[in-house]
């Protein structure tokens, strides 16, 4: 037996079209729907002391006539925007299950065993997976960022700086997904301040964003004053110190807990020291337009930098040189990189060039950065890159060797002479005011070929030596040997 029924389909099709229209309007809204980037998270402290965040449209962004479900859901209920690059389909599918926090937590416990066994490579995909599954797990972002930025090193414990843009990208993603709390803003600022140790304006920006979060702990709030100093904003540092000291004083009065009193005393000590240094370094005098005669920073001290780099064996360099500063504490940055290294800039790179957490940095590119420690006014350091071919692949044809010193990174006892911005610092041959805008730094660079670095071809029997014109050996002689070929390190002023 077969049965069919005849109904008038026209009104039914009309009903389907009506439903479809309603669905379309509800889902997509009316008018231009704001994107995730057009919102900003604003933290509020409630009367009961708890904090909460509200996502509001940035100024200048028009409110749509009717906000669709899709846009509202992305704003309020999506767990976080995650960069999908580098995730396998099974990792994506994991995110579907309703047990994301649980699985993420278990995976993180598993990662701990890899830390213990030193299997650092195995931790990277776990970090990524955990942050995708549970973007609110701040510990993973913070630890992952530190791990990527600090723990990938060569045999001589030099960091693989090709990973730093990825570490920063992870920090930025963590901050985006956890905008209610200060932690990832602080961690990202710390990466700029401590690891990159240059471009301090970025550290200041991130620390300032961390300060805006009410849950930031007092001891960490104080660090921004150091970042201001290193960014050349000494007056801002002083203002902030006074404000922090005032707050800490009130807090210590309200609650005489040891931690509160200790924080107040620490700030008082720091304030005293800063004021003394500002006077001794002639900061107030300079601000008032008075002559700096008699102040520690006057006349500027000539560091007398000179250097010699010898390619002793294939992929092995010896850095030697002079630096006339007697107190211990100077570290001169030496960089060896591909001449065409992507996003390179003098003595570094544009670290913040990507938002993608790429756990596989450019394996065919070489970037070596070493700190040359000065003792008794000389430095002498052997850099052996032969044991780590994956970190130093040397696939390019041309390379650059750079020397760089920035007084802003100097320890306080050296800054007492050089001051915060290098007012008391000079170098007859290598002072540079171009590579870091508005700053007085020492900088020089020279090109070197792959054949020279690998001691092959014409350079099999000859020893390449890169030398500044003013370089003198320990016994005070210009150093020359028959089998060595000298390449001059350029200077604007050296003879």
């Amino acid at each position: 037996m077969s049965m069919t029924s005849g109904i008038n389909r026209t009104p039914l099709i009309g009903a389907i079209v009506g439903c479809a229209l309603g669905i379309f309007v509800l889902q997509n809204g009316i008018g231009n729907q704001p994107t995730g980037k057009q919102y900003e998270s604003i933290s509020e402290t409630l009367k009961n002391g708890n904090t909460r965040t509200v996502k509001k449209l940035k100024s200048g962004v028009a409110t749509p006539a009717f906000q669709g479900i899709s846009s509202s859901w992305q704003r309020d209920f999506n767990q976080g925007t995650v960069e999908t690059q580098g995730l396998s389909p099974d990792q994506l599918l994991f995110a579907l299950a309703g047990f994301r926090e649980m699985i993420a937590g278990i995976l993180w416990v598993r990662a701990d065993s890899f830390f213990d066994s030193g299997n650092y490579d195995a931790i990277l995909p776990i970090i990524r997976l955990v942050t995708v599954l549970d973007p609110k797990q701040i510990d993973v972002y913070a630890t992952g960022m530190w791990h990527i930025g600090y723990n990938f090193t060569d045999e001589e414990q030099r960091s693989d700086r090709r990973y730093i843009p990825s570490a920063l990208a992870l920090g930025k993603e963590g901050a985006r997904n956890n905008s209610l709390t200060y932690e990832m803003f602080f961690e990202t600022g710390w990466m700029w301040y401590h690891k990159i140790d240059d471009d301090y304006s970025n550290a200041v920006t991130w620390f300032e964003r961390a300060q805006e979060r009410p849950d930031m702990i007092p001891a960490r709030r104080n660090l921004i004053t150091n970042a201001y100093e290193r960014d050349g904003k000494v007056d801002k540092s002083l203002d902030t110190l006074f404000k922090l000291y005032e707050t800490a004083g009130k807090k210590a009065k309200e609650d005489a807990a040891f931690g509160n009193k200790q924080n107040r005393d620490t700030l008082e000590n720091k304030l005293d020291t800063t004021l003394v240094r500002m006077v001794q370094r002639g900061w107030f005098a300079g601000k008032d337009g008075r002559p700096l005669t008699g102040y520690d920073v006057n006349p500027p001290f000539d560091t007398g930098f000179s250097a010699k780099v010898t390619v002793t064996e294939a992929r092995v360099l010896r850095f030697e040189g002079t630096w006339n500063v007697l107190p211990v504490g100077t570290r001169i940055r030496a960089v060896l990189r591909d001449a065409d290294f992507p996003n390179a800039k003098p003595a570094g790179m544009e670290w913040d060039f990507s938002n993608d957490v790429n756990l596989d940095p450019p394996r065919d590119k070489t970037f070596m950065q070493e700190q040359l420690f000065v003792r008794n006014q000389r430095f002498n350091k052997k850099v052996d890159m032969s044991k780590d071919p994956t970190m130093y692949p040397f696939t390019s044809k041309d390379y650059v060797i750079e020397f760089y010193y920035n007084p802003r990174s100097a320890p306080p006892h050296i800054q007492d002479k050089f001051s915060w911005n290098g007012e008391g610092f000079t170098d007859k041959n290598f002072l540079n005011t171009q590579v870091r805008e508005g700053q007085r730094v020492m900088y020089t660079s020279v090109k070197i070929s792959k054949d020279q670095l690998l001691r092959r071809g014409d350079w099999r029997e000859k020893v390449p030596v890169i030398k500044t014109a003013n370089y003198l050996d320990k016994d005070g002689k210009a150093y020359n040997q028959a089998d060595q070929v000298t390449i001059d390190l350029p200077s604007l002023r050296a003879n």
Binding site: M3, T4, S5, A15, S72, F77, T81, A97, E101, V109
Partner: protein, 262 residues
Amino acid sequence: MFRPIASIAATTVGEAIRRKVLLIILLIGVLFLVVAPGLGMLSARSETTVLRGMMLGIIQLTSAVIAIVLTVYMIPNEIERRTIYTILSKPVQRWQFLVGKYFGAVSALLMMMTLMTSVLVFTFWLQQRDASAIPDLIKAPVMYFVQMSLLAAVAIFFSTFVSPLVNFFLSGGLYLLGSLFAPFFQTLQESQGTPPAAKVFAQLINTILPNFANYNIQNPIINPGQQIQNEGSYYLQVTVYGVLYIAGLLVAGTIVFDRREV
């Protein structure tokens, strides 16, 4: 007009609660809810966060399996067992049969989800001793119910023209896709590397697909601290969205079922 629908729905509920496979799935879900507080200790994450995430996950997953298993067999079983002839020989229209079956399935689903939510509330209260968090916690199962009703409508629509096995994977796949697509839709739309054609395609998919992710409201419940703007209005919108989609699917199912020879 509504009496036949109510009768068919009541019969369907009776059949559903007698089906052992559904009761076993429900029992497993309830068991997991009961042991969930103990499993939280395995994780390195805050125990409350894991507990909330896991319990809501269990309810969602169990409900989705029940919704699919319950509905994929409904029409094909009636045809296979030839009981449909007895029903359609009475003054019952095909659309009434389809709608009655759907409402029966949704009612059974409501009963089962209510049971699971009660267990969730009791277990959570027993573990946390914090009644203030419970109203927030219940919002998620309520939205999951609308989500599962939509899933049941998808499955019942497919059951009018495909076999149960195919329907199981088709509905399950659509549920996965509808839940997965939304979180990455924004990333795709905002990424500068996405070609314009792909963006248009993504917009099309986001509109056509039943957007199950709209009902995944658990994130602010698991990680509290964010104020939801116009919360009530959002829930109303997604409910209306669900009702419209369900209505569209039932009408489409009626057209297909009406043309089908049984």
